[in-house]
Amino acid sequence: MSWRRLLVRVERRLSSRGFSLLRDALVLLFLLIFVVGPPLSIFLLVLRSWGEVYQTVFADPFFAQIGQGALRWNMIQRGLLRSFEIAAVVTFIDVLIGLPMALILARYDFRGKRLVDTLVDLPMAVPTAALGFSLYLFWGSIDGIGGLLGLEGGLFSRGPLLIILTHVAFSYPYIVRSLKEIIESVDQTLEHAARTLGAPPFTVFRTVTAPLIKSGLLAGSILCFTRSLGETGATLIVAGAFYTAPLLVVEYRQLLMIPPAAFLSMILVSISAFLLALLRFSAERFGLPIKEAWPRAERLLSGRAQRHLRDLMTFSFFVLLILIPSSFIFTYLIRWWGGSPYIGNPNLGAFYQVFLAPDKKWPALQSSIITSFKVAALATGVNILAGLPMAFLLVRKNLGRLRGLLDALVDIPLTVPTSALGFSFFLFWGTKGLNLLGPGFWMVVLVHIGFTYPYVVRPLTAVVEGLDPHLEEAARTLGAPPLTVFRTVILPSMREGILAAAIMAFTRSLGETGATIVVMGLSRTVPVLIVQWVESLALPAAAFACVLLIAISLTLLLILRYVLGWE
């Protein structure tokens, strides 16, 4: 009897109803324990230690002496308010400069379009800490635009303005991508019809196109807002003394002030859940009224010259605000490689700092690269194994209403600010929760499993939805039990999709900063190292680490593009 026959026999057994129920149960259990449990459990934990939380946040005895019992509550409120304001400004700017770019990419064809398309994605490919550092160098240090303008320091110092610029840069690709997709899905013949009815292009856009894309616009805006709200890694670098809510979580954690950190994390998780619900349920009901027309004004705005001007401005904004600052770090590194470009001292150069200085940065960097890779590989591997059956469960099982709920649960790690997410894992697995782990390598792995889960499940779900069920039926009629069909027909069809999901998750894990800092203990991943070196003012060394990390991420994403062909 051949091994093949044996394998098929085993697969026939494992295809039985009992086993598939078991498999579904395990998949849901995984979701509950490793992905959704920690952020949701924070409510329980806060409630359980409410006394402690109340005291430290609202009625701290130490600060009460100076009449500031609710000092921490004020700080938390301030942090939240700042985060919201920044997120709102960032979303507004991103939509303003991103929408025209999305229009250009969706509608026009020009030489170099592919290049622009790839460049627009650049901030997504750059790990957030590296992006933050690059932007800080460009806007906030004398080596950047400040020096060019003859200032003594940077154009912007660390603080809210710099945070806004940073968030605008890394949310930009998200807005452009989601708007581009939605614009592409609009039937252009509708717009042509409007033109034949006498409406100039601008009016067509406002009255015909905009209503058709409103759900995508809203979705993109909420996504943008949520990302800005939750960003930690880059913000850590560019905030300076200014703090936002996610940064406050990191600070409390580092000072081992667990109750306020837990409280704030709980608030952030609630806000994210609310935004997620908003995203899902209100996208259709939002309206862009204004049915009037102002033909003369809008005809003026539609002229060819005006369009060219608008396109020019769109590109300029993109290049000046996004592209150049994001890639500035390369310039910086080149300048500072051998030594200081101002006084020539080689000890201040990147090469010296990393390789020759006595504090052994190069071995630290090497080991952090290995750690980053180990974490990413483990997180990706586990999530492919757990995410694949989840994708099938979501698509193939008749879930009805439950599908929406399950989809939302899977997406939770995407919306929760990374530091709060990390903190919830810290509590869940640590001494206040299940008491199974302390901060360190394995907790980092668990956190990365949690937050890369949606990055694996979502694309896999799309792949499964695109599978041809008739192919599987053909295999069944040829004698193959369901599990054998999975192994011999479905998996080969999904090869590229699985690889794409794996690369995306791996890259995200490599670049993660906020959550890792909260749970890392003594382990260091590369982004964390970058933050450390920036804080200790070893800027050229940090730049070197950034460039290395960016190079690795870009290579992986290029492989991803290659694997998917060119869409």
């Binding site: 069944r476 040829l478 004698g479 080969p492």
Partner: protein, 371 residues
Amino acid sequence: MGGSEEMPDVRLVNVTKRYGRVIAVEGLNLHVRDGEYFVLLGPSGCGKTTTLRIIAGLTKPDEGRVYIDGRDVSGIPPEDRNIGLVFQHFEIFPFMTVYENVAYSLMIQGLDEEEIERRVYQALEVAGLNEVADRYPEELGAPELQRCSIARALAKGSRLLLLDEPLGSLDPETRERFRFTLRSLVKGRGLTAIHVTHDQEEAMAIADRIAVFRRGRVLQVGTPMELYERPASIFVANFVGETNFLEGVIERSGERSLVRLRGDLLIEAGGSNLRAGSRVVIGVRRENILLEEGKAEGLNALPGRVIRAAFLGKIIRYRVELDNGDLVEVKQPTRLGRFFGEGERVYLIFPAEKVLVYPYPEDLRYELALR
């Protein structure tokens, strides 16, 4: 296992399948005999594909049972029903070569390499695909893919072959040629075949017996000749072959009945047990009518005027307006050597035996619809 292993028969008993409030198949009773080439024929949405899928085990019926070779297969999954299925869109595995596709079922069965090779090449030979064994599906055209799909099902060795619109994705000439290939493949191996199609010409050419489906029910089961000569309902008469329908009233019934059409035109039909005075619809096949200049002895003759003549090579299609205003279409073979021009007066000649008589239905439009 009951019955002979050689040629399985298939029996459906009271099979019903609903999708929400839509009834796909209702109270279906069917018996396909050993070694038959059986065709399920009907318009889109009539339930024929659902029936095939129920036999294959890809769809579970809400009620009823399915017996293959005497065995109740109701709880048995498709992989264990010992069937071969040829799909409309081929469903060839794109990431495997032709050889690997055809070998798939044998690989599942765990046979030796040599045995697999022997059976695969045998199937490829029969299907005429020896040259392309190592090619990938994307390199092949539709006819070759269809043959690959058949070879793959045949290689499995099952004695029951199910075919879902197997010729649907081919161009018309290939389709016609393939009919004969399919039938000879099936008959040559002594298989039982159940073939689904909406093409009545295909069904007539290829089947031993045909089941005509409409809206989830079987209207008639019979040989092609039976369906053609004695269609049981207006729908079957209309769907299978081309028929003219005229309204009338039974003037006299008996062994030879007399029917009065509109405008007081009288024709003779065969025997009918409908009473005198009943409203009827009579049908005559377009090819059973002859156009003549004058009446003919002992045959029906309806006077009219040619209003359109179309020369189509083998046949000429005429549209004739009868003196009572009804319109009739006639197909004349060109080799008769006669040609009538537009505006000419003619007589439509046809024998009484070729007249089909049906009681006037409640909803004539519905009966005449081809869905």
